[in-house]
């Protein structure tokens, strides 16, 4: 009945310790202070390792290719990050992305109908995805259904609607403006899609660090009861977070449609797993309250570098899947504060 506000953990104190134990302790403390930077060091180490074995890794063109393959995953993972910091999960990535890509491919110049709404169509599609995200949030807080279930349902609804709308077929995107996102490289550098992803990163970074809502996301993730008691509008924040996620998935849909030049219901297939992995590998805890968009950037880069590196080194396809599995376990093991977790489910 009464709100249960946290538990003081037993402060068992320290009996007299020897000097060698004290040295161990300071070593442990400095190690624990470095722990949040572990993913970053992992990225550097991985890059150096791959580059040492195949120096073409560091070629300018290759770095561009890596950035290119990281653009869409980054945008998706940014949306997912806020949801995970909140302490929830969003399984609807693939469904919302599909809706976004399909809407865009139907609204801009395409080979299936005579619409040619250009960027206006893009904006409409992304807004629609934001609305779906908003719906996720509203159902979650309004009907008090766990985010896992709501977004799981929305995933299937999204793919289902996309299938229905296209009758299972694929629509080619013919609008040169959209395609230029993937094909044009201003100043001979990154394709526009990468700049878009970086822009998304910048905006989400500002939200996370500089705005009230960013703060509230961490407060709710750290202790929802406490946050509520402090007067934070928990429900409103949750809905906004899911809406941001939906919008970013829609943006991902735009980039995917631009990259492949088409839209269909399965365009997002397999992305849920890689998105959550990227967020977790970057150091954002699934339990909430920790991590952030910069962590996610590192996580996405690690995955992109790994994918690129395994091909550069000619690693057998059989082994590659195993490598990804090991990566996830290692990343989660490093990021969990196991001392604080007494019960492991």
């Amino acid at each position: 009945m009464e709100p249960q506000i946290g538990h003081p953990s037993a402060d068992s104190g320290t009996p007299q310790i020897s000097s060698s134990e004290r040295r161990d302790r300071t070593l442990k403390r400095s190690l624990s202070r470095l722990k949040p930077y572990a993913p970053f060091f992992a990225l550097i180490a991985l890059s150096l390792l791959i580059g040492a074995m195949n120096p073409r890794f560091f070629e300018f063109n290759n770095l561009i290719r890596i950035a290119n393959s990281a653009a869409i995953p980054l945008v998706l993972a940014l949306g997912m990050t806020f949801v995970i910091v909140l302490g929830s999960i969003d399984l609807s990535v693939e469904g919302v992305l599909a809706i976004g890509a399909v809407l865009i491919s139907l609204l801009v110049r395409n080979n299936s109908n005579s619409l040619d709404l250009g960027w206006f169509g893009v904006v409409l599609a992304i807004l629609a995805c934001g609305a779906i995200g908003c719906l996720n949030g509203v159902i979650h807080v309004g009907l008090r259904i766990p985010s896992f279930m709501v977004t799981l349902g929305m995933w299937f609804i999204g793919v289902g609607v996309a299938t229905l709308v296209l009758g299972g077929s694929t629509v080619r995107v013919l609008d040169p403006g959209i395609r230029s996102l993937a094909l044009d490289r201003p100043l001979g550098l990154f394709p526009i899609a990468v700049w878009v992803a970086l822009g998304a990163l910048g905006i989400t970074w500002v939200i996370e660090r500089q705005t009230r809502i960013g703060r509230y996301i961490y407060a709710i993730g750290g202790g929802e009861d406490l946050a509520a008691l402090s007067g934070i509008p928990v429900n409103r924040v949750k809905i906004i977070v899911f809406m941001i996620a939906g919008t970013l998935y829609g943006l991902g849909g735009l980039l995917a449609a631009a990259q492949l030049g088409l839209g269909n219901a399965l365009i997002g297939s397999g992305r849920l797993f890689s998105t959550v992995t990227a967020v977790v590998v970057g150091g954002t805890a699934l339990t909430g309250g920790e991590g952030g968009v910069l962590n996610t950037l590192i996580g996405v880069l690690i995955m992109a570098v790994l994918g690129n590196g395994m091909v550069l080194l000619g690693i057998s396809p059989d082994v590659q899947q195993g490598v990804q599995g090991v990566l996830i376990i290692v990343a989660v093991a490093l990021s969990l504060d196991r001392a604080r977790l007494k019960i492991v489910k």
């Binding site: 402060d11 068992s12 104190g13 750290g222 202790g223 946050a227 402090s230």
Partner: protein
């Protein structure tokens, strides 16, 4: 200045507050005492805006106020420092102080962190503590966090014209003495800026800090006096309706233990915690272990129940050597554990009483492998009667019980499992006087029935009163042994000398 008038509040049929009247004046400390269930916490939460009264009203300077949320309370100058830490450990100190109140530092949707941290600094200065607002809260000690909470409450000063009222809900239960002294010093210094309402189970603390005291019992105010004019026994009497005396610990009932040895330790060691501990435990004996935090007594008790196996030495139960690596092994040997954190370690709160009672002894109450629910319920009813557990039914969920009754359920669980050695880890922590007495009574009864008990008590008084023999530990070693039979009880000073 702030008055509570004829306030009543009920929860699910239980009357928590009944026509309560309390006055809080300017610049004073008002102490609030009473057993658990007396209504103190409910009253505090009404003042803090967490609950609304069913009847009656709150008045500020004569005008009625309606507190619909903690935010409303804050706007009226009322802040609360909770019993259990209410800071978000994943945020910084500055963020915690201004959690929910960032609006004043926000322009165009962006929060100016520098201004926020500077303002947080100013609040921390009020409590005279030197903490960088950018520190992550998880890096702070409990005492430091308590100070931050106080600073957070004081931050209200700037947001309201009203006089500040800070509610301190059992702030001392997780603090060491040294930190308690610091807290009290701060409160006294801050009296000129705020009034305080101070709730504590420790009557001596109440007397030390308060200017006036209200005594509550069963949801009513049964006493109200100036601190100078009262004493601990008088408060005790008003709270429970009887005097505390030597019979508190039922010393007259203390019987001599039997000859039979049930547990023996020789050179018991856990690296880094304690070493070379020897003791012998007899049937029916109550063995107390005294020591400050860090003496190793906590770890010793946990070894006896299999949480932390010994790294050296021998432990014998009923004559054969054991090395307990898991609590289940200890349970198999007939050892039971009544934990300190009963909410997290003793009971499954979301399960009913009857289920919890048979948790460690499921074969009992089983017909052909299936759990006989009927038998379980009968067993539970018997224990409820025997231990006088206050509950409407045995199907009631444990989380709805008061602390003392929960403790009794834990006890019943082990007695059901026919444990013949019980380890009590701070058994009366957080219990009101009446519940404490019942626990003492039970310990006596168990001891008389031949159950051997290892007791880590909250206070030296408890240790001396309840035990047959006492081990004193310091820095991981046994520094003294005392025989504490009735008539030959050591004094607190005797013990303290070997503890520090």
């Amino acid at each position: 200045m702030l008055s509570v008038e004829h306030v009543s509040k009920a929860f699910a049929g239980v009357q928590a507050l009944d026509d309560v009247n309390v006055e809080i004046g300017v610049n004073e400390v008002v102490g609030l005492v009473g057993e658990n269930g007396a209504g103190k916490s409910t009253l505090m939460r009404i003042l803090a805006g967490v609950y609304s009264p069913d009847r009656g009203s709150l008045k500020l300077d004569g005008a009625p106020v309606f507190l619909r949320s903690p935010r409303d309370a804050n706007l009226n100058g009322i802040g609360i420092v909770f019993q259990e830490q209410s800071l978000l450990v994943n945020l910084t100190v500055g963020e915690n102080i201004y959690l929910g109140q960032e609006a004043e530092f926000t322009r165009l949707g962006l929060v100016d962190r520098r201004r926020l941290n500077a303002a947080a600094r100013r609040q921390l200065d009020k409590v005279e503590v030197d903490i960088d607002p950018r520190t992550r809260t998880s890096d702070l000690s409990f005492a430091a966090r308590q100070m931050v909470e106080l600073a957070k409450a004081l931050a209200l000063e700037e947001r309201t014209e009203r006089h500040l009222v800070i509610l301190l809900d059992e702030p001392t239960s997780v603090l060491e003495q040294r930190d308690i002294d610091i807290l009290f010093a701060r409160v006294r210094a801050l009296k000129r800026r705020a009034s305080f309402v101070f709730v504590s189970h420790r009557l001596d603390e109440i007397l030390e800090l308060s200017d006036r005291i209200y005594v509550m019992k069963d949801g009513r105010v049964v006493g109200h006096m100036e601190t100078g004019s009262t004493s601990v026994p008088q408060l005790h009497q008003m709270m429970v309706g009887r005097d505390r005396h030597a019979e508190y610990y039922r010393e007259s009932k203390q019987q001599s233990p039997k000859e039979e040895i049930v547990m023996e330790a020789r050179g018991l060691t856990v690296k880094g915690a304690y070493q070379a501990v020897d003791f012998t435990l007899h049937k029916g004996e109550v063995l107390g272990i005294a020591g400050v935090v860090g003496s190793g007594r906590e770890e010793l008790t946990r070894t006896l129940f299999g949480f932390v196996p010994q790294t050296g030495g021998t432990l014998k139960i009923d004559g054969h050597a054991v090395r307990l690596t898991a609590p289940s092994q200890a349970a198999d040997q007939g050892v039971g554990y009544i934990p300190r954190e009963r909410r997290t370690e003793g009971l499954v709160l979301s399960l009913p009483i009857a289920v919890n009672m048979t948790l460690s002894s499921l074969p009992v109450g089983r017909i052909m492998g299936a759990i006989s629910l009927n038998r379980e319920r009968q067993l539970a009813k018997r224990w409820v009667d025997k231990l006088r557990i206050r509950t409407p039914t045995v199907e009631a969920l444990c989380l709805n019980l008061s602390g003392g009754n929960q403790q009794k359920v834990v006890l019943a669980k082990w007695m059901n499992a026919r444990a013949h050695i019980l380890i009590f880890d701070h058994p009366t922590r957080g219990l009101d006087v009446g519940a404490k007495e019942e626990v003492y009574e039970l310990i006596r009864d168990l001891s008389a029935e031949g159950v051997a008990i290892v007791l880590t008590a909250d206070t030296l008084e408890e240790t001396i009163g309840l035990c047959h023999s006492i081990l004193v530990m310091r820095d991981g070693q046994v520094t003294a042994r005392f025989d504490a039979s009735p008539g030959r009880k050591p004094s607190q000073v005797d013990l303290i000398r070997h503890m520090v």
